[in-house]
Each structure stands twice: as C-alpha cells, then as structure tokens.
C-alpha cells in the first residue's frame, strides 16, 4: 500500500516536472512572436530598436500598424493571395477528387500504370520545372498574371493519393446499389460518394491552402508586377529593400501577415494537425 502511494507520488512529481519543461520550451518557441508584436507596437523602433528588449514598449503606439495599412500594399497582397489560393485549391481539389475516385473505384485499362505515373509526380520537385514552365507561360503571354500560379495546381499527386486511399475505404456495394437504380458513373460519384467524402475534402482543402498560400519560388519567378504580389512576395520585397533598418515597421508588417493565419489555425487546429499528420504518415 505504502509502496503504491509513493509510486503514485513519484509519478505526480515527474508529471509536474515534465509539464514545466514543456511550458518553458513552448515559451522559448513563441518568444520571437511575442517580441515581434512588442517591437511592432513601439513608436520609436524604426530609429532605434528597443534595447534591452521589453515586453511592453516604452513608446506604446499603433503608429507602425497605421503605416502598414496606409499605403494599401498589404491589403492588396492579401487580396491577390486570396484569389490565387482559392482558385488553386478549387481546381486542385476538384481534379484530385475525380482522379482519386477513378483510381479507387474504376475498372479500366492501364489503371495501374497511370497510378504509378501519378505517384511519380510526387518525386518531381519544382526546381527542374522552373525554367521550362517560365518559358511556357511566357510563350502564351501569361507572365505577370495569376494563371501561372493557379493552373499548375491542377495536378497534385499527394491529393490524388490521399483521395484514392479514402475512397478505398468506402464499400463498392454503394456503387452497385446506385447503378441498379439506373444511375450512371458520374451521378453515382456526385450523389453517392462525394457527399461521404467530407473529411477527406476538408483535409485536401487544408493542405492545398497551405501549399498555395506559402508558395514562394514560383511566384517570385513569374510575377514582377508589384500590383500582383502575393503576401510572401510582398514581405520578401519589403525585407530585401529595407534590410534591418525599419524595425518597428517590419515587425508590424510581419505581425499583420502572421496574425490572420494564426487565428485561422487556432480555430481549425484539430483538423490542420490531423491533415499534416495524415500527409506525413502516408506510408502506413
């Protein structure tokens, strides 16, 4: 009895110790964010950075945030990113749902070979495609438009793969039943299987959103027009122009670019973390 108690106590102490370590490490990880917000609210940080660092700035003011919004570039960049991301997600998820369904339920010649082709696309990174795609979009005069950012989202091997795996878990008997009722392949897909695909569609949207929203190298190559800059492009060009000279303004800008995503993340954290884990443990 006594031994049991002390074991329990020991476990409690260990648990408390673990909790403190986790808390400290978490604090360390979010320190850059806290500092970013604090410097952003400092009126004088553009001239001299607050040193030593303070949690609450001495010259507390929303001055920097005012400037960030004043010239409208950030809002414009948000709009551009939104247009690109929504379109990319829409075509990527739609095409992958159709293909994933066909690879799961379809019976046709060359299914296996074509699926291997899809999996092969997972191995192809962006870099070797950069120059040919640039030349391709240049030849049809679509550089400095959103088309080059949106159209290549049509193909995502990962989304097709996740989608096929999901449909594999749904029984074939649903199809047979629907077809006895005289429904065709497309009706069966849209009426029977698509309504059941909610969870995987959510995962696909989250992944496609993250990829498209954070995409940087390809947009950098095809967009030179400042009016069309997406959020990452705008941040990078601001950062390269000003270096580390305008601390307050840079941090206010960083805050405003991070905040909406963080809020979205806090609301959807369960689904986002699940999606990331799913795409990460794809091999199992």
């Amino acid at each position: 009895m006594k031994a049991g108690l002390s074991y329990k106590k020991r476990e409690q102490i260990a648990g408390g110790f673990n909790f403190v370590i986790l808390l400290l490490f978490g604090l360390l990880l979010i320190t850059p964010f806290v500092w970013m917000v604090s410097v952003g609210f400092d009126r004088t940080a553009n001239v001299t950075m607050p040193f030593p660092p303070k949690l609450i700035p001495k010259h507390l003011s929303s001055f920097n945030f005012g400037i960030v919004f004043e010239n409208g570039s950030l809002i414009k960049a948000y709009l551009n990113s939104a247009i690109v991301t929504v379109s990319s997600v829409f075509i990527g998820v739609s095409a992958s749902l159709l293909a994933g369904y066909a690879f799961s339920k379809g019976r046709f010649k060359g299914k296996k070979v074509l699926f291997v082709v899809v999996l092969c696309t997972l191995m192809i990174p962006m870099e070797p495609r950069l120059i040919p795609l640039y030349k391709l979009f240049n030849s049809v005069h679509l550089l400095n438009t959103f088309w080059p950012l949106v159209l290549p989202s049509l193909i995502s091997g990962m989304l097709i793969f996740l989608c096929k795996q999901f449909f594999d878990q749904l029984p074939d008997t649903l199809r047979e039943a629907s077809q006895i009722d005289g429904a065709g392949e497309f009706t069966t897909f849209f009426r029977i299987y698509l309504p059941l695909a909610g969870p995987i569609v959510a995962t696909m949207i989250i992944l496609a959103f993250i990829w498209s929203w954070n995409d940087f190298m390809w947009p950098l190559v095809v967009l030179n027009d400042k009016e069309l800059q997406t959020v990452p492009l705008y941040l990078a060009s601001f950062s390269l122009e000003n270096g580390t000279s305008l601390g307050g303004l840079t941090m206010a800008l960083a805050t405003m670019s991070v905040l909406p995503i963080v809020i979205l993340y806090l609301f959807l954290q369960k689904y986002i973390i699940q999606s990331i884990a799913l795409s990460g443990v794809k091999g199992e």
Binding site: L29, M49, P53, G106, F108, K111, P132, L235, Y265, Q269
Partner: protein, 306 residues
C-alpha cells in the same frame, strides 16, 4: 418460392450492371482528364524540356547546342560547389538537431496527461507561419546588436556572434531558423506514431519490471525507427530544396559572401537574374537527380503501397 425469384431478379440485375460496366470503361478516362492534362503540361513536358535545355546555350530566345558544356561548367564552378556545401551543411545540422529534439519533446507530451492538445497547438505554431515571414522576424531576432538572442547571450556572459552579418556564423542563423520552423512538424509526426504503438507492449514491459526509461529505450525507440527514417528523408529532401528563407535573409546570391547561397538560390541566380537558362537547367538536373535518389529511398523505407 417468392423469395427465390426476387433473389434471381436481383442477381440478373447485378449481372446486367456488371456487363454494362464493361462498356463504361471509357468513362473512367474522363475522370482522369483534368489531372493528366496537368501532368502532361506541368510535369512531363517541363522535365524533358529542362533536360533538352541543359545541352544548349540559351538565354530564352537564342539557343544553340553545346553538348555537355553546361554540365562541365556547373561541375567545375566554385560557386556551385559552395552552394552544395551550404545546402548540405544547413540541412545536416537542421536534421540532426531537430529530429532527436522533436522526438524527446513528443515523448514528453505523450507521457503527460495534462494539456496534451495545448502543447501540440503551441509547438506547431511556428510551422504554420510562412517561412518568408519567419525569416523576416529572425533577421531581427538574430540581429548582432539589437536582437533578442544576443541580448540573452550577453546577459548570461556568453560571446555574442555576428550571426547573419558574419559569413562564419550566418549558416548557423539559418539552422536556428530552420530548427525553430521544422520542430513542430517533427513533433506532430512523432506523436501520431507514438500513439500508434500498441499499449500492450508497455503493459507487458511494466509487468516485467521495466522502468520508464527502459521502456523508452527498448520499446519506443525501436518502434519509431520507420518514423525516424521517414523524417530523415523528407527532411533531407526539403533541405536540398531550401530557397525561401535564404533568399529573404541573403538575397539571390546568399550574402554575406555567398555563405548562405543554397543550390536553389544558385539556380535562381543563374536562371532568373543572369538568364543563363542552359547553365541553370544543368544545375537543376544535378539537383533533381540528388532529390530523386532520396525520394526513391523514402518510398522504399516508408513502404508506400502501389
């Protein structure tokens, strides 16, 4: 009797549907049209075009065939090997720091009862931030005179390095950023796989009197081997493609003194600031082959089923 005839009817219907399905084979290809249009235009064509370009001297408008000269030029260029060195250096240290650290924290989270979800959300936060914004923040966090890191180092009496202003420490600045950004991902993946280890194994070990640490060494770590391999290889593939953060921190030539120019940045510099498409294509092919090898190993290790 009635039951039998209904059954027969159903059977006939099912037969009919099955026969019908044969004629419908073609319909399935319609489902694949959008994806395969994308694959042909944006995957297959660029890969071959890029291979072709690597044998040409090209600035986008004028081209002529020069055989292997681009490859020779890239492979004998100091700045390319410098970029390879930078990419490997940053990648290797990012990986050997993040995976063990992430795994330890995932194990601690897994063993605490309170606030598991809270810590998951907290630790994953850096990974949600775009790496471009993160790089922008870290340019200040690691600023030699006014950054918070050097303030702390100075306060506890440690030497304060120049980080991004000094070519001998700039790679470490990128490594710190990379570890900070990636660790949440490693923790999430480790946690998902830790929770998949059957609890019977631990119960059996407990009955045999194994301590917590022994269980960790002899049950947890062997069971996580596949996960480590997966993280190692995906991390390495990502590291080979590093571009965004070094571009924000050091521009296309990876300043200071090309000390943080990665392979991706080398390709961008030669291709899109110098418009040497042939040279850049040859460099992308060298990089592509490297990535292909590691992706192939990844597919083997993670036993992806086709």
């Amino acid at each position: 009797m009635a039951n039998n005839s209904i059954e027969l009817n159903v059977q006939m219907e099912v037969e009919k549907v099955r026969n019908k399905r044969k004629d419908w084979g073609l319909k399935w290809y319609v489902f694949l049209i959008p994806s395969f249009l994308g694959i042909l235009l944006f995957m297959v064509y660029p890969i071959f075009e890029s291979l072709r370009l690597s044998f040409y001297q090209s600035n986008g408008t004028v081209e002529h065939f020069i055989g292997l000269a681009n490859f020779k030029s890239v492979l004998s260029s100091n700045s390319f090997w410098n970029a390879v060195w930078n990419t490997f250096f940053i990648g290797i240290f990012q990986i050997i720091i993040t995976i063990p650290l992430g795994f330890i924290f995932a194990s601690i989270i897994n063993s605490t009862k309170r606030g598991q979800n809270f810590f998951k959300v907290l630790y994953f936060l850096p990974n949600v931030t775009s790496i471009v914004a993160a790089a922008m923040i870290f340019a200040f966090v690691l600023h030699p005179e006014m950054g918070i890191v050097n303030y702390v180092l100075h306060a506890i009496g440690l030497p304060a390095p120049g980080w991004l202003s000094d070519p001998s420490t700039s790679k470490w600045a990128v490594i710190i950023l990379a570890v900070w950004h990636w660790i949440g991902f490693v923790i999430i993946i480790c946690l998902a796989n830790l929770q998949a280890i059957p609890s019977e194994m631990y119960e059996a070990a407990k009955i045999d009197g194994a301590s917590g640490l022994q269980q960790w060494f002899f049950i947890t770590i062997p069971n996580m081997a596949g996960t480590f391999a997966f993280l190692l290889i995906t991390g390495w593939i990502g590291a080979l493609q590093r571009f965004n953060e070094v571009y924000v921190l050091g521009g296309p030539n990876g300043s200071p003194a090309r000390s943080i120019q990665t392979m991706g940045a080398f390709i961008y510099e030669r291709g899109f600031t110098g418009f040497e498409f042939g040279i850049a294509s040859a460099a992308t092919y060298i990089m592509f082959i490297l990535i292909l090898v590691f992706t192939f190993i990844n597919l083997k290790v993670s036993k992806m089923k086709i």
